[in-house]
Amino acid sequence: MQEPGNRKKRSRGIAIVLTTLTLSVTLPLVGLGFDVGTLYLIKSKLSAASDSAALAGARALSEGANEAAQETNATSTAQSFFSGNFPTAYWNTTGASATVTIDATSTPNYRTVTVNATVTAPLYFLRVLNQQNSTINVTSQAGRRDVMMMLVLDRSNSMNQIVAGTGLSACSIMQTDAQAFLGYFAPGRDEIGLVVFGSSTYTYPPTTSFTTPDANGNTIGSLIASITCFGDTSTAAAMNAAYGQILAVNSTTRENVVTLMTDGLPTSITSDFVVDHLVRSNDGSCNPTGPSVFGGGTVNGNMFPGGSLGLLVPSQPSLGSPDTVILPTGNGCHFWAPLGSYVNMGYVSYDIAGLPTTDYWGNATQGPYTTESPAYGSAANLNDVTDAQGAVYAAINAVDNQANVIRTNATLKPYIYTIGLSGDGAVDQYPDPLLLMKMANDPNLAGITGAGQTFYNQQIGQPQGLNVNAPDATQLAMAFDTIARQISIRLSQ
């Protein structure tokens, strides 16, 4: 039997013992929790910084005049983004560093940026176990795919309008902005080609040396600088020329892209016309057997003064001459409207039997775009050449169908980006945003009730590009910049 006095003595101070015992368990647990929690927080931050560095480094591979400069830029950008996302002495860490490695050869047309990040994190409570600190390592990887891009520029006559407040023509502003756009691509890796179109097209094949003068002393930038704006808007011919280059390169390892800038509705189609006579609108001897361009206008059924009325070969050997006066004797036909007056379409209707059901490349001219779009609501009238609006409808349908052919190439998977420039030319010839969105398969089609949603649903699964509207030429720089950013996002993943 225990004596009460002894128990009382033993009870004295037992709370202190209990507290001490509890603390001896609690404090290490708290300490372990604190140290491990801190390490977890630091690792999370380090991982975010490493991811950011890899992605920014991959994006920066487009910056630089050659591959070496691009890789130097990528390395310095990656390290800068790492430092920017992982503050010095974050939670008392030391020795934060990122090692950047670039692999440009393992995968064709794809460069990877690998970031190995490391930092030393202090331990506080675990020091009782003689652990002063802990080293944390993380690895991140991102890459940039090379692009094969055809830049398609509209040089139609309407581009000559002077833009208010600038003293410059839309053509001149476009030249400056398109050249700046080239700066967002990687010489030596990306292949860039050029198509310039009015009534006819001029094509410069894609090359990785797009900033280096060729045998004739031309670069793509210098060619853009030499553009004179003239003629109709043969958008389908231009898109076909761009697609032809994509097919010729036939790269499944690059991202294939067509970027179109246009300031108006398509107004011309290229086809084998049925020629009844070569009398009234032909200004010389010609051979009508080749593919030809028919240009339509929309002003009271008449062609514009000096417009490219009639037939001419669809491609241009150079940008140096106005694109309607190009025919060597006996090769194709050239029909010319006298300058200074409207010429009745009856001149052409006498010579041409009607509009064809397909253009030269097999794109349907009667529909379906103009029958589905609320802005048009009917098929092209192919039987009456004097109906200039019918020619525009045919041209619209041809370019829509050409874009459809491009997007549905399941092997090359080309993306189409479009820029619609309004504000110059006749209001009824401004670009149709819905047509350009459909051509690009812009995901924003889904938000347009009616025809937009119909087009969106019809084109699900096809490559999705983007359309950007430029309300006037001063907005072109931003439009090109937006497209460059979107392409950059697609290339750098």
């Binding site: 920017g84 700046a180 979107q486």
Partner: protein, 201 residues
């Protein structure tokens, strides 16, 4: 006998006193700080994820994407999704400011050539909590696109270069998150808990 019976339980009383003045505040403080650390971690993760998604092309001007951020990624942080806008509101306990910056090259031929400009800005949540110091553009459209960023001097954000180095022509995607944890705190001891984080991709 009476005194002995009184002394029984003294141990528990003393322990309870020690617990009241030491363990209970300690545990409450640990819980509070623990939750705050967890939320801090969540804010870090949130800004990282949103920045990463933005850099990969996710459009946060879309209401559905804002809802995804507010209701899922920021679950428990009291971030209110906008109602069909890109400028935020005055409610909720947090805000996210999303910005895209471009270093306009000299070849731009525009007024802002050679400057870093903000090209897109979307604010999600309580815009009274935080104002970003990086550019103050005159006009932003409903999709978050800064209007006239090639010419608007207010769109210039050269101070971004103090955070990150961007090469000429380069891009940066920034997410800033500021959150106030007004529901947390131990009266008189721990107040004004919150978290701020910035992620740049």
């Amino acid at each position: 006998m009476f005194r002995k019976r009184n002394e029984r339980g003294n141990v528990y009383v003393e322990f309870a006193l020690v617990a009241s003045f030491f363990f209970v505040p300690l545990i409450l403080g640990l819980i509070t700080v623990g939750i705050a650390v967890l939320r801090n971690f969540q804010v870090n993760q949130l800004t990282r994820d949103v920045g990463h998604m933005m850099a990969k092309g996710v459009d946060f001007s879309q209401q559905s994407n804002q809802n995804l951020v507010a209701n899922d990624l920021a679950n428990g942080l009291s971030l209110q999704a906008n109602s069909g806008n890109v400028t935020g509101s005055s409610s909720g306990g947090g805000v996210l400011v999303l910005s895209i910056f471009r270093y306009l090259p000299s070849s731009c031929g525009c007024a802002n050539a050679g400057h870093v400009v903000v090209t897109e800005r979307i604010v999600i949540g309580n815009n009274s909590l935080y104002t970003t110091p990086f550019g103050s553009p005159a006009s932003i459209n409903g999709s978050g696109n800064v209007q006239n960023y090639t010419t608007d001097t207010g769109a210039r954000a050269d101070n971004v270069l103090s955070v990150i180095s961007i090469a000429s022509g380069g891009l940066a995607y920034m997410t800033e998150g500021d959150f106030s944890f007004t529901d947390l705190g131990v009266v008189g001891f721990i107040t004004h808990l919150g978290a701020f984080n910035r992620a740049v991709f």
